[in-house]
Symmetry: C2
Subunit: 243 residues, 2 copies
DNA sequence: TATCATTAATGATATATATCATAATATATA
DNA sequence: TATATATTATGATATATATCATTAATGATA
């Protein structure tokens, strides 16, 4: 029992160590490409990298906003807890994505929470440093602004795409989303539970399961627990397009 | 017949002339407060102000993005035309609001359309000039970024607020929105049709009318065509809070 | 391994909401 | 002013979706 816990910690530290020199990562990354070697050094010195096991909370609504969070590896969900303890997932960040929404630049506290849905490595860059570079490095400012301004808008587009469709269209969306956008494969392991799928596309858990079964019976997909294979992507795309 | 058209044009020009010197407006406005007198002069020289009559289209999906649009006066809706010619309204801009979403900084073409829902005056500032000032004026850059980054995020928050509620909660939302946020009065003239309300809060036109009638019968509001008076704001807020 | 808790799976039922139909107003247009 | 068109209004009906109930399967924990 204790042995397992220790082993987990060791694994955590090993992973953390493995990525601790992130020069290559940040340097290549689109968001920081206009920083000088000197500026990158400052960010490197102050940045913190953390490993999160699947299911671990990264940030919580109400927390002070101190960092720009950047996903090195894994998958992270951004969600809001409703009054009735229900959760509403806004988006799923994939590697190389900035985690969160733009309002980290105008708010002082997080209004959404983030949790790892797969083992993840998150890079925390001091927000004040980024603001400082926005002020002092014009080329970085404009490029960073252009890159970062897509984040919130793509969440809006997705919300509309989902809410203008009904159940079958929404399930088609989520299958295509993981297949094309996240895993680039027609065969993948759904990283979230049916309940979380429901929270992501605004429907009841039972109906998520029901429509998935329907798609299976209809030979659109193959399901074995979390493992999903898309059998007829053309027809799935048609279902999505029709709503 | 012809007479009326000419009269309209005259009124348009008069209004346009009246506001042509916008030094006071832009100068006081929160978005441009960190620009120097010199920089403001450049913006003033290049900016274009246009008057739009209620119902007139301002920009359309697919149009090239050339300007940062800023609402001087009136009300403007931001919407998307769905495949089935249905329209989906994202937000309503009020005076002093930036019209549009942040992706104007990353996209080359508009993905949403804008139309005046009340007689409006829109100020078009060349986007390249703003980008130039972001590059060259650090204080402006950071402040502008902080201010502007709220726009898209507040649309997201509103979308969630609406979609997690059912019909009565949504109608309560829209009544409180116009009363508190737009007109600061419990008595106001609804600037949009019931159909547009439906497009804004994701429900059918018939049900918008039905729930409004229900609220009237329940002595929550008073309706005479577009004219609405909120009689019991406390109870309306409770309906909104409960969903 | 046994026990418990969570997740997945379906069927039956209830409910919310959309759609259809029709009429009365109001608004725009000739 | 008359006529057409769009908006508002309400009832009846259909439909989509959620909720409730139950069981099976899976995973976690002792």
């Amino acid at each position: 029992m204790i042995y397992i816990i220790i082993q987990t910690k060791v694994k955590k530290m090993e992973l953390s160590r493995k990525v601790s020199n992130c020069k290559s990562c940040i340097y290549r990354s689109w968001a920081f490409k206009n920083l000088s070697a000197e500026e990158l050094k400052i960010i490197n010195a102050k940045k913190v990298e953390k490993f999160y096991r699947k299911g671990e909370n990264i940030s919580t609504e109400g927390d002070e906003i101190l960092s720009f969070m950047y996903l090195q590896n894994g998958l992270v969900k951004l969600y809001k807890t409703e009054i009735n303890t229900k959760e509403h997932i806004l988006s799923i960040a994939k590697p190389q994505d900035f985690i969160g929404l733009l309002s980290i630049f105008s708010n002082t506290k997080h209004i959404y929470s983030t949790t790892a849905i797969e083992d993840s490595i998150v890079c925390f860059v001091d927000l004040e440093i980024i603001k400082k570079f926005i002020k002092t490095n014009g080329t970085f400012a404009i490029d960073f602004f252009e890159k970062i301004s897509t984040v919130s808008d793509s969440v809006i587009k997705t919300r509309i795409d989902i809410n203008t469709r009904q159940l079958r269209g929404r399930i088609a969306y989520i299958l295509l989303f993981f297949s094309k956008h996240i895993y680039s494969s027609i065969r993948f392991n759904l990283p979230i539970s049916r309940k979380e799928v429901a929270e992501l596309i605004d429907m009841s858990t039972e109906n998520v399961i029901r429509v998935l079964s329907e798609f299976r019976k209809d030979n659109l997909i193959q399901i074995e627990g979390k493992n999903i294979v898309i059998l007829d992507i053309k027809r799935l795309e048609k279902i999505y397009a029709l709503g």
